[in-house]
Amino acid sequence: MRKKNRTAPRKGPQKKSRLVSYLTHHLQMLIASLGYLTRQPVSTLMTSAVIAIALALPAGLYIALDNASRISADWDGSTLISLFLKPEVSIQQAEKLASRLRKSAEIEAVSIIDRDQGLKQFQKISGFGDAIEFLDDNPLPHVITVQPVVDQQRPDKVVHLVKKLQSENLVELAQLDMQWVKRLYTLLDLAQRGVWIVGSLLALAVLLIIGNTIRLDIQNRREAIEVSKLIGASDGFIRRPFLYTGLWYGISGGLLAWLLIAVSLGILENPVQELAVLYHSSYELTGLSSSDLASLILISCALGLGGSWLAVGRHLSDIEPS
């Protein structure tokens, strides 16, 4: 039997290649940090819940706003601009103007109420029917009603359109019905900014919560860190488990936030539908779309990583073997 040479070269197949060893360590730490968290389920759950609440709040407000703006979008159909034409304008001129307006991209629909028709309507609605019979002359002008194309994001466009119509030669007065739509938009816009501010503050809170949790983790594992440094572990190697722990906090917090939102929507669904029935509407609540969910998880992951990065950067270098 031939004797095999068993002395392998000092650096050869005994070690993994740098890249392989780097990647396996990442994978190992991804799993190990999850194991670490599941071995202390109560504190993990509590931390995740705090993160979840901090994330669910702005996300819930975002959904509420989204729903509110959809309600107002339903009402946009009733946003009308009335053009009272000058008294001397004839019906032919009015029709010419109307057909020109129909071609505008900013305008959805145009209709004409001629002065006789207008008078009849006025008689009917106002109850002045008899009194108006005594008038020799119809005092009303022709009226063109314009339904603008409403851009959710740019309520000011309607106002701009009104100004433009006002400057038409034949128009005596252009009047936007429903000033309150504009007010609602302003309010929604304000609320949206509010959500951004609240959201940013709560994101900062999540960053600090995760940072603090990781800081405590670092302190708890002080001894292991010291030993690792002593036997030549690189900073990256020591950082990794903590960064992955932060990432897991982010993921679990994000998923839990989504769960909170889903449950809350479930609770609100019936009352909202009852309300809708009262208003003869078929309005339904919309929750988070899958892309919203993806951004929620992405944001919480980023916060988890960011928070742990802050903690690791500040506190790992404090721990040196002595």
Binding site: P13, K15, K16, S21, H25, E226, V227, L230, G232, S234
Partner: protein, 230 residues
């Protein structure tokens, strides 16, 4: 292997732990570092392991000047050193096997190679049957030997031991010292700090003795022709 060139170490607060210490420990040599408590033995070892930095002078390890090593390169240096402490620094949250495997894991050894080497190291310190135990269940002497296994598992070229027999009885102490002598036979350079003069005399290896931070006596001078020339 190790050369100290007029090394002084002043700790923050102004205490001079070492003053103008020079010596040369040749490759493959085993030597003891002796001296009263507070003489500066631990400080000297910490300077080699880059746990502390000298205030003045230069240290060469295997030809590399440690004085201007950047922090980023420290891990690379430490991977060539095995360090054994009086308080053995074992981690009680993992098995004996995993404690010993740490240096190999850090350096990215393959799974099979880790198994082989950890077993070999545990075998050398006579603890192969304890690989699955938690170190907290072991006696003081056994824990110290686990620490030694961890220090030699990656086959370092230099072994530093700070009072490795500090709280062990004489028989166990002799056993541990014999272990170091065996590693030395296989070519590892070894420096052991100890105040157990009787034990050291028995073993017959050279020693450097420190007194209040200065070298009082150095056996290596009579051994090493290179050092004598200097």
């Amino acid at each position: 292997m190790i050369r100290f060139d007029n090394i002084s170490k002043r700790y923050p607060g102004g205490f001079d732990a070492l003053s103008r210490v020079s010596f040369h420990l040749p490759r493959g040599q085993l030597a003891y570092l002796t001296g009263h408590s507070g003489a500066g033995k631990s400080t000297l070892l910490k300077l080699i392991a880059l746990i502390e930095r000298p205030t003045r002078g230069q240290i060469f390890l295997d030809g590399v000047n440690l004085t201007n090593i950047r922090n980023r390169r420290i891990p690379q240096i430490r991977r060539h050193i095995g360090i054994i402490f009086q308080n053995h620094h074992l981690l009680y949250d993992r098995r004996v096997f995993d404690n010993v495997a740490m240096p190999l894991v850090i350096q990215g050894y393959r799974h099979r190679e880790i198994n082989k080497r950890v077993r070999a190291a545990l075998d050398q310190v006579g603890l192969l049957n304890k690989e699955k135990a938690n170190p907290i269940t072991l006696s003081g002497g056994e824990q110290q030997r686990v620490g030694i296994a961890r220090a030699i598992v990656h086959k370092p070229t230099l072994l530093l031991a700070d009072e490795p027999t500090g709280n062990l009885d004489p028989d166990l102490s002799r056993e541990i010292m014999a272990l170091f002598a065996r590693f030395n036979m296989f070519g590892t350079t070894v420096l052991i700090a100890s105040h157990d003069l009787d034990l050291i005399r028995q073993t017959g290896f050279p020693s450097i003795s420190l007194n209040k931070g200065t070298i009082e006596h150095n056996d290596l001078l009579t051994l090493d022709p290179l050092a004598r020339a200097v």
